[in-house]
Symmetry: C2
Subunit: 192 residues, 2 copies
């Protein structure tokens, strides 16, 4: 009578939750898609309607992270040089990760022990790099500079994020980003 729908709502969310729990409990490889689907009250086939593969369920947030990056970057005045615009963007992004500290750490602990998941993470970061480069180009940066600055920004992100995770999220991520940027400028500027 008052059933709003034929099925429980938020199937995708239930699948994410179930997958995360099982990956933590028994590891990624030891978890089958059928188990995830069963726990979410769905079938294996339905899992693959929501996620292209077993790994993707852990990277559902990648698209919104990319969106955040690009939108933030666009909001920085064009007078700011690319490298500083990226630094400013990372500063904003840091907040998002600190807010979701627990989730980020748990997720990273799953990825850290599985090469397949690391591969997926790397290609998401590559996609992010391309998006940043594109955004820089539309700010007027030339091709080569846009690509290199985007890569530099992601390098800083990777290195600092890794350090943040190693500190169990106790350090200030934005501060680590700044430090890494400073070190990068120092290390690249010292030559020649």
């Amino acid at each position: 009578m008052c059933m709003v729908s034929r099925w429980e709502p938020n199937a995708r969310g239930r699948l994410v939750e179930a997958a995360l729990a099982l990956y933590v409990e028994r590891g990624f490889e030891q978890t089958t898609v059928m188990e995830i689907a069963k726990r979410a009250g769905l079938t294996e086939r339905t899992f693959f309607r929501y996620f292209t593969d077993k790994r993707e369920v852990l990277f559902w947030g990648a698209a919104s992270l990319q969106e955040l990056f690009v939108d933030t970057l666009r909001s920085v005045p064009e007078s700011v040089v690319p490298i500083d615009a990226v630094a400013a963007t990372l500063n904003v992004v840091a907040g998002v990760f600190q807010e979701r500290r627990e989730f980020a750490l748990q997720r990273q602990s799953i990825i850290a022990v599985n090469p397949e998941l690391q591969e997926r993470e790397l290609i998401k970061l590559a996609s992010l790099t391309a998006a940043i480069a594109q955004a820089l180009r539309s700010r007027g940066a030339d091709e080569l500079a846009a690509d290199l600055v985007a890569h530099a920004g992601i390098a800083v992100f990777k290195v600092a994020f890794e350090g943040w995770v190693a500190s169990a999220g106790t350090n200030d991520l934005a501060h680590m980003f700044s430090e890494s940027f400073a070190e990068l400028k120092l290390a690249t500027g010292a030559g020649a």
Copy 2:
């Protein structure tokens, strides 16, 4: 009588050759491991004794590339600052790619159209990055600087290599590396 061995020699080489040919002929996804093995005169099971998976056959050279990188880096005098040591190393590496131009381009054309292969390429480059960072640390660089310079070097490598492939290998790779390094220094140094 004069059979040197019970089996044809160089099984691994035959598998690589067969795989490459088939990947070019009909694409990576459309090729089954059984087909590769058959063409090499072996069985599917034997393929998996030589390569952990279907993708790895295209990345057999990654280990020697990493070795080349690290050895070359070690041979640069310690008085040279990290970023310049990496630049010098890339200069040497460029030669290896120019020598194998045809192979490199063909291989890249296979990888370029397949996300799975791109993922594998990225994790190989990540491994290379870690090895470079380690080599820099053993040259006396501090943790953070080593990581960042290694990432910067690989970023230059990626961007310039991409450009080289786009030019069908007609440009001078070493020159493109230099240009990218210069641009990176400019772009990171311009801020603050």
